[in-house]
């Protein structure tokens, strides 16, 4: 036997810094903690403080004014309208998003020729910068040059232009449609991940057991992906609830505040009119609803683990 032996391992060397978890764990957590404190916690606390002050852009000196800002916004009909609009905007776009995203996810999962083209097109809205996409939609919905109106007119469905962004309900519908268009790809990809995680055997068993398309959808696929759908919905709801970009670019809250939502109104008050204190008080109303959504997300993720 002439197999060369490895040199005997002695008990040499000491634990270095890299071996000490007590040192490494805080070190690696530090950047995230700094980031959250600087960009989330401090602004949040400042917003809280500002809501009870008289700070404006012109006069940043802090003076405590108690609930005066809240009294003012509760008396403001535009605030109530914005709150209602926010809820309508969120609920309707989420309902549309989930149904469309589920259908898209099933298309993404299916096997067919030129699948990559479809995948690319599906993901395109999500990857397009929001400002660019909204400007494109602004033209699509333009009161004079709208290509949608042009097509409808040529087909004889309408006599004159629709003024998509000029009438209350149509403006809201347009904002919801554009936002849904934008958020569906994200939801579709999340739901796709859920669909992929269903074992092939389960799908085969359903086929053997005689389940048709709809029965399989409602009795097997949807229940098994429910936690994932819940996550997609809640993420979408948070993104919708706090989003003002589509509203801001398309309508700036108009016509006559028909599409004003809380984030856009807070921005209008706080930055537009310079009344930081009122803007902060309005924005604060997002907080309890978002907190509820965050708790719901965490709970459904936990449910997913116990399956």
């Amino acid at each position: 036997m002439s197999v060369s032996q490895p040199p005997p391992v002695g008990l040499r060397g000491r634990a270095t810094l890299a071996d000490r978890e007590g040192f490494l764990a805080p070190l690696f957590l530090l950047p995230a903690v700094v980031y959250i404190i600087a960009l989330v916690a401090i602004p949040l606390l400042m917003a809280l403080a500002f809501a009870f002050s008289d700070v404006t852009v012109g006069d940043p000196s802090f003076e405590w004014v108690g609930l005066r800002n809240f009294d003012a916004i509760f008396d403001d009909p535009v605030f109530w309208r914005s709150l209602r609009n926010t809820l309508v905007f969120t609920v309707i776009s989420m309902a549309l998003t989930i149904v469309l995203a589920k259908a898209l996810a099933m298309i993404l999962l299916a096997n067919f020729r030129f699948k990559w083209v479809v995948r690319f097109l599906v993901l395109l809205p999500w990857t397009t910068p929001i400002a660019l996409a909204a400007v494109a939609w602004l033209w699509m919905l333009d009161s004079v040059y709208s290509p949608i109106d042009w097509v409808l007119r040529s087909l004889g469905f309408i006599e004159s232009n629709v003024y998509w962004l000029g009438k209350d309900d149509l403006a809201m519908a347009s904002v919801i449609a554009v936002h849904t268009w934008r958020i569906v790809p994200l939801a579709a990809v999340i739901i796709l991940a859920g669909l992929i995680s269903i074992p092939d055997d389960i799908n085969d068993a359903a086929a053997i057991d005689g389940a048709g398309f709809w029965r399989k959808l409602f009795e097997i696929t949807v229940p098994l992906t429910l936690p994932v759908i819940a996550v997609a919905t809640l993420f979408g709801a948070v993104l919708t609830f706090t989003d003002m970009s589509v509203v801001y670019v398309l309508t700036r809250g108009g016509p006559e505040n028909a599409t004003q939502v809380l984030p856009s109104y807070a921005y209008l008050k706080g930055i537009g009119s310079g009344d930081l204190a009122q803007g902060a008080a309005i924005a604060l109303f997002l907080f309890p609803l978002l907190l509820a959504a965050a708790i719901a997300i965490l709970r459904s993720v936990k449910r997913m683990e116990t399956f």
């Binding site: 389960i202 085969d204 086929a207 053997i208 005689g210 389940a211 229940p223």
Partner: protein, 348 residues
């Protein structure tokens, strides 16, 4: 009612024809028969089963159930039930809902569904589990639920894809016995896929040995074991496998249990004797497996002899002993093709 199953010149190719998973299979399972598809992993047995079930479309050839061509029919129209290796229970449904699901798909009323699911559960002894979810069940219990779900529709054909492979060894032997008795009671045509020869030998009325997408041999277990058509079947079946000794243009085959110390093989004129140089002896559940090399029968070859517990002849490592095999236990294979050939003179 049991129906016969037949496949004719069946081919299933994947990846645009690059992979021939099933490569021209003709096979028939009679009404009420227990047919086992046996082969190593990747031999195409599961693909064949899935094609019969309707989960895969054949590339070529026909699948017949009860004498009718069912190509293109979806699984639900074929009156087949299948048990998967993973059992594929619906994790969000209770045992009752799992078993009753095939009936629900047939739009049978709720009361009738529950009555029949209860009947299937009773047959398998799982009535007490009906309100549980699959994750609260043991492997053996899950397997029973999967069987109950397959049974509840009273299908004409059972397709079982390695249903025992997720059970531990002890439970597996028990479940094998139960499965056999169970099929005897319901009398449904059963096609059973496995890579485990003990399951195949124990369960099958007939076994079909598959290799590389083709059926090499079909027959009753004893027949296939005793008379393998080629060297693949000869060495795939049996543990330890058949000994093969090169001798000119052919191979000489004999089972380890037929290769015994010479004095124990009767018939002076009809036995073939050879000296075995013993290298190692293993004791396995009473039997002795004797590993060694023989010289003088053909080329020098390493062989294995299996001595039953009743043979107490003392043997030592390193010893050279006369071993023998009876002429009727010799099999002959062509050295090139591996196929069985007619007997050749051995003691020339």
């Amino acid at each position: 009612m049991a129906l016969g199953v037949e496949v004719r010149r069946l081919k299933k190719h994947f990846h645009g024809g690059d992979v021939h998973a099933v490569d021209g299979v003709d096979l028939r399972a009679g009404e009420g028969e227990y047919l086992v598809l046996l082969g190593p992993s990747g031999c195409g047995k599961t693909t064949l089963l899935r094609t019969i079930a309707g989960l895969e479309d054949p590339t070529e050839g026909d699948v017949l159930i009860g004498g009718n061509v069912v190509n293109g029919l979806p699984p639900r129209a074929r009156q087949v039930a299948m048990v998967f290796q993973s059992y594929a229970l619906y994790p969000h449904k209770t045992v009752m809902q799992n078993i009753a699901f095939p009936l629900k798909a047939e739009k049978i009323a709720k009361e009738e569904r529950e009555r029949r699911a209860g009947w299937a559960a009773e047959l398998l002894g799982i009535q007490h589990l009906l309100s549980r979810k699959p994750r609260q069940l043991s492997g053996g219990e899950r397997q029973r639920v999967a069987l109950a779900r397959a049974l509840v529709r009273e299908p004409s054909v059972f397709l079982l894809d390695e249903p025992l492979s997720n059970l531990d060894a002890k439970l597996r032997a028990l479940a094998r016995d139960e499965l056999k008795q169970f099929q005897g009671r319901v009398g449904t045509t059963t096609i059973y896929v496995t890579h485990d020869q003990a399951e195949a030998m124990g369960l099958g009325d007939r076994i079909a040995v598959m290799y590389e997408g083709r059926v090499r041999q079909v027959g009753p277990p004893r027949e296939v074991y005793a008379n393998p058509v080629d060297t693949f079947v000869a060495t795939f079946l049996g543990s330890p496998p058949m000994n093969l000794v090169h001798r000119g243009d052919h191979l000489l085959g004999f089972r380890p249990e037929n290769f015994l110390p010479a004095e124990l093989v009767e018939g002076d004129g009809s036995r073939v004797t050879v000296s075995l140089e013993i290298a190692r002896i293993e004791y396995l559940s009473g039997d002795r497996h004797v590993y060694g090399a023989i010289n003088g029968m053909g080329e020098e070859t390493r062989v294995i002899a299996r001595l039953p517990a009743t043979v107490t002849t003392p043997l030592e490592d390193g010893e050279v002993r006369e071993f023998a095999v009876h002429e009727r236990d010799l099999r002959f294979f062509d050295a090139e093709s591996g196929e069985q050939t007619h007997a050749q003179p051995v003691r020339a």
